[in-house]
């Protein structure tokens, strides 16, 4: 089996690894690099549990060959805040009861994080559209939308003076 060496950035840290050419990014992260914060829910790009950010954009790690990450930045949920601290979005998920079983949570938070960078005061429908690629079987989504909405409000106060674009 063909192998190759790739280097990429994982949560701000440069990594160089040997990987089989057919290996997915999900398998590389979970099995080789111990990044078990990335969850495997379906392996076919439908459920969104394995979402990571690739150069800031959410992707399904199960559908991406590891080699495609070469030279790029991969961010998992552990890359959002220094160890032991929470990003405000994570704080909002805690405060609003947005995590029940927690299995969809890492992917859900990353999708929401990427979305909020480009949407300062999204409507609930826009939030729902943004997370529609991340399945949750526990919450019925309402508290997830609550959390994302609250995090957006905190990051972008309603005052018109506060905002640029």
């Amino acid at each position: 089996m063909a192998e190759l060496t790739i280097s990429f950035t994982l949560n701000g840290e440069r990594r160089e690894v040997r990987t089989a050419a057919h290996q997915t990014l999900l398998a590389l992260l979970r099995d080789e690099l111990g990044a078990i914060e990335v969850k495997d829910g379906c392996g076919e790009g439908v459920c969104g549990t394995c979402t990571v950010l690739l150069d800031g954009e959410p992707v399904s790690a199960c559908l991406l060959l590891a080699a495609r990450a070469a030279g790029r930045e991969v961010t998992t949920v552990r890359g959002l805040a220094p160890v032991g601290t929470l990003h405000p979005l994570q704080e909002a998920f805690v405060a609003h009861g947005a995590a029940q079983c927690g299995f969809c949570t890492p992917g859900m938070i990353l999708t929401a994080y990427a979305f909020l960078r480009n949407h300062r005061r999204p409507a609930r429908d826009d939030i729902r559209r943004a997370i529609s690629g991340n399945l949750c079987r526990c919450t019925g989504y309402a508290k997830i939308v609550d959390a994302i909405e609250a995090a957006a409000a905190e990051a972008a106060p309603a005052s018109p003076a506060a905002g640029r674009g």
Partner: protein, 771 residues
């Protein structure tokens, strides 16, 4: 009846219970620090995999594992011959055994015959997941396909293929009250309906997984995602070892919903670890999970409902036929739950309920949230709506007229001993819909529907259910709770922290909770049957109250005041004058005096003798939770698409220990019910599963459902701690029926088969040709 501990305070005085606080596990979960079953690794760990039948009904003529076993990196290949006791009994899992006649066999690994597609035939353990897959492919199986039976009605015909030797009828329950036939013959109005509901999958996001190893003293230790750590006994029985030589450690579970109630990977892991004497991990793929795990029972429901002209119900006649698939699992009990609730949450002087569940060569069916009771809602609530239409009555008024009340009896004879909130919930949910909205386009129609439900919480009373919990103080004044509760994401463990904190006068974050270890935590029973807050909540309450009673005299002595003048708060004890003793000092004094700093609480649920359903006997469940959902839908008259635009869910939760968790249960359950009503279905073609991936098996996304508004009624009359009722299962019941009722309100057609897809609605509207 267990005595209510003295530490229970009126709601106004509660300090921690009733607060919507974040759960203790939430910070870990948002950082992905929670170690789920598949995240666990051990040194030298092997990877296990299962070979599954490709046919739904076949004989195995030849099974040759020699080539697979010889492959490099393969540590073990096991077939039925290698399993010491190749039978799992479909007992009710948990701490109580022996439901006698309900016992039925499931083969651990197929021995000569396979009865459903996906049935396990062989196990492998190998150095890598890839080597394990190669080994599976190298196992040679020669099948001789057999005729099967795939339709429950056909399964009862003479000459139908027999799934098991004992015949295809697995179980039958019958309830008679009054004379339903006579009452129907003389009723002013009779409404008849036949309804069908489908196979669905639990579709939790975490596929089944676990890791097993042989620990010190030869104890087979299995760390697994399960709702039932008591399956350690099943593993031991299959392995042929003593029960005290198997330990199950339950992980935080990535969703259960009944799908992790029967054994999943743990028996296979026990076999592979025992054979190889090495750690083994097994993680099922999504495809494997959808293919082979038990589903929700499809039911055929035939209803005849009689009423007088003023809308008073006089009779309910119900015939039920459910599909158990190829094995019994919990089918007989699911059918019993269906039978007990089939008449609905209404006063019913005459009822005749006849229920059967049969074997087929479809995938097995077993526990899923709602457990037989939820399927009935489509029947009795569609009937109520038809009756209301016939009599030109308001949907709330007809329900209020007939709603069960405290003191009424169910058709099985059980008297309802606590508050029954059916009428109140219906009125509140309906009113909360607010003004009717306008359609979003001229070819769309708005409609509203209401559905009430009854769902038991706690296990059947003759199972003599119990739960235990240990609560203790560490010397620094922090609190530890130990209990064998599996936390499946419903906030099970966190609510226990709140209860202990309430009683002991500490903050919830000062309580550490250790859960779900069959060797190290006092057993608490299964996280199923909406029983965990009820049962383990009462056990923790009892333990904490017992501990409090032990410590108060010590504190009183230190404060030189009577014990009844001492309050526990702010890190210690205080007397009426504000003199304080901090916990470390009190606990040191306890140590000096030899007063124990822990207490083991054991809660026994109200028990009763088995009843004969035929004759009606009385109590069958500890208690019930009642609720009502109201929905507003928009139906597209060109496509048949149904969109739920508003959903209000109201339940009497007794007391919300943590309102945030309760709302989460209600919203999540309601959305799962919407998926059941609108889109979910495991499609089968003569036993072959066509829904084995998430691209084909659709569950609701955030775009498919509205914000569900949860309305809590707190009657304070539940049998759980502080008057709480169970709320895990109840919210999944009403949505499908509420949608069916709303569709008729919108476009005048009655949909009787789930899911209510655009195609079914379009067909009913005459937009498609029949056939």
């Amino acid at each position: 009846m267990a005595k209510r501990p003295a530490a229970v305070l009126p709601a106004a005085a509660l300090r921690v219970v009733g607060r919507p606080i974040p759960r203790h596990d939430a910070r870990d979960k948002v950082q992905a620090a929670t170690l789920y079953a598949a995240d666990w690794q051990m040194p030298g760990m092997l990877h296990g995999a299962v070979l599954r039948s490709v046919y739904p009904s076949a004989l195995i003529r030849r099974l040759d594992t020699s080539r697979a076993a010889a492959l490099p990196g393969v540590a073990a290949v096991l077939t039925a011959r290698d399993v010491p006791n190749n039978t799992l009994w479909t007992d009710v899992p948990g701490q109580t055994s022996a439901v006698g006649a309900l016992r039925a066999r499931i083969q651990v690994l197929a021995d000569h015959v396979v009865r459903f597609q996906g049935e396990p035939i062989a196990l492998v353990a190998a150095e890598t997941p890839e080597a394990a897959q190669q080994a599976l492919e190298a196992i040679e199986v020669e099948y001789e396909p057999q005729p099967g039976v795939f339709d429950p009605e056909a399964a009862l015909h003479p000459g139908a293929a027999q799934v098991h030797e004992e015949g295809n009828l697995l179980a039958r329950w019958h309830v008679e009250r009054g004379d339903a036939a006579a009452a129907l013959a003389t009723a002013d109005v009779v409404v008849e309906g036949t309804y069908r509901c489908q196979f669905i999958d639990h579709a939790y996001l975490e596929p089944e997984a676990g890791v097993a190893w042989i620990d010190a003293d030869g104890v087979v230790t299995i760390r697994v995602a399960t709702q039932v750590i008591e399956h350690f006994r099943d593993v031991a029985d299959v392995l042929g070892v003593a029960h005290n030589r198997v330990r199950v450690i339950g992980t935080y579970v990535g969703g259960g919903f009944g799908g992790k109630e029967d054994v999943t990977v743990e028996v296979f892991l026990g076999l592979l670890a025992s054979r190889t004497r090495r750690p083994v991990r097994m993680v099922w793929s999504r495809q494997e999970s959808l293919l082979a795990r038990p589903k929700r029972h499809p039911f055929l429901l035939r209803y005849k409902t009689g009423a007088s002209r003023d809308g008073t119900l006089t009779a309910q006649s119900v015939e039920l036929l459910a599909d158990s698939g190829a094995y019994a699992f919990l089918s007989a009990l699911v059918l019993m739950y269906a039978t007990v609730t089939a008449a609905g949450p209404y006063r019913m002087p005459n009822a005749s309920i006849d229920a059967r569940v049969v074997y087929t060569n479809n995938p097995p069916t077993s526990a899923m949230r709602g457990f037989g009771a939820m399927q009935m809602v489509l029947g009795y609530e569609s009937q109520m709506d038809r009756l209301a239409r016939r009599l030109e009555m308001d949907p709330v008024a007809i329900r209020a007229r007939n709603a069960l009340r405290k003191g009424d009896r169910l058709p099985v004879g059980q008297e309802l001993e606590t508050h029954v909130a059916v009428a109140e919930a219906a009125a509140r949910a309906w009113a909360a819909l607010g003004p009717r909205r306008a359609p979003s386009a001229p070819h769309r129609r708005i409609g509203r529907g209401l559905a009430c439900n009854i769902q038991s919480y706690g296990r059947i009373v003759w199972l003599h259910d119990w739960a235990s919990a240990w609560v203790g103080f560490e010397m620094d004044g922090t609190v530890v709770v130990r209990t064998g509760v599996p936390d499946v994401g419903g906030g099970q463990a966190s609510s226990l922290c709140q209860i202990a904190a309430e009683v002991l006068g500490v903050e919830p974050d000062g309580v550490a909770v250790h859960i779900g270890d069959s060797a190290l935590t006092p057993l608490a029973g299964t996280t199923t049957a909406t029983r965990q807050l009820y049962m383990s909540g009462n056990a923790v309450l009892q333990a904490a109250a017992g501990l409090r009673a032990q410590l108060l005299p010590v504190a009183a002595q230190m404060l030189e005041t009577p014990a009844d003048r001492v309050t526990l708060r702010d890190g210690g004890a205080a007397d009426a004058a504000g003199r304080r003793a901090a916990w470390p000092a009190i606990l040191r004094e306890c140590a000096r005096l030899g007063v124990p700093r822990s207490f083991l609480g054991v809660y026994h649920a109200p028990a009763g003798d088995p009843i004969d359903l035929d004759r009606g006997g009385g109590r069958i469940f500890p208690d019930y939770t009642f609720g009502a959902h109201a929905v507003e839908v928009e139906v597209d008259t060109e496509t048949g698409a149904v969109t739920v635009v508003r959903h209000v869910a109201c339940h009497d939760v007794g007391r919300a220990i943590n309102p945030q968790s309760v709302e989460g249960q209600i919203q999540g359950g309601a959305v799962m019910g919407l998926g059941y009503g609108l889109m979910e279905e495991v499609l089968l073609d003569r036993g072959v599963n066509l829904s084995t991936n998430f691209a084909g098996y659709l569950i609701p996304t955030a775009l498919d459902v509205p914000d569900v508004e949860a309305l809590l009624i707190e009657s304070g009359e539940g049998k759980g701690p502080y008057g709480a009722r169970g709320i895990g299962e109840p919210p999944i019941g009403p949505p499908a029926a509420a949608i069916a009722n709303a569709v008729e309100d919108a476009v005048g057609v009655r949909i009787t088969e789930l899911p209510i897809t655009p195609e079914r609605v379009a067909r009913a509207l005459g937009l498609l040709s029949a056939g």
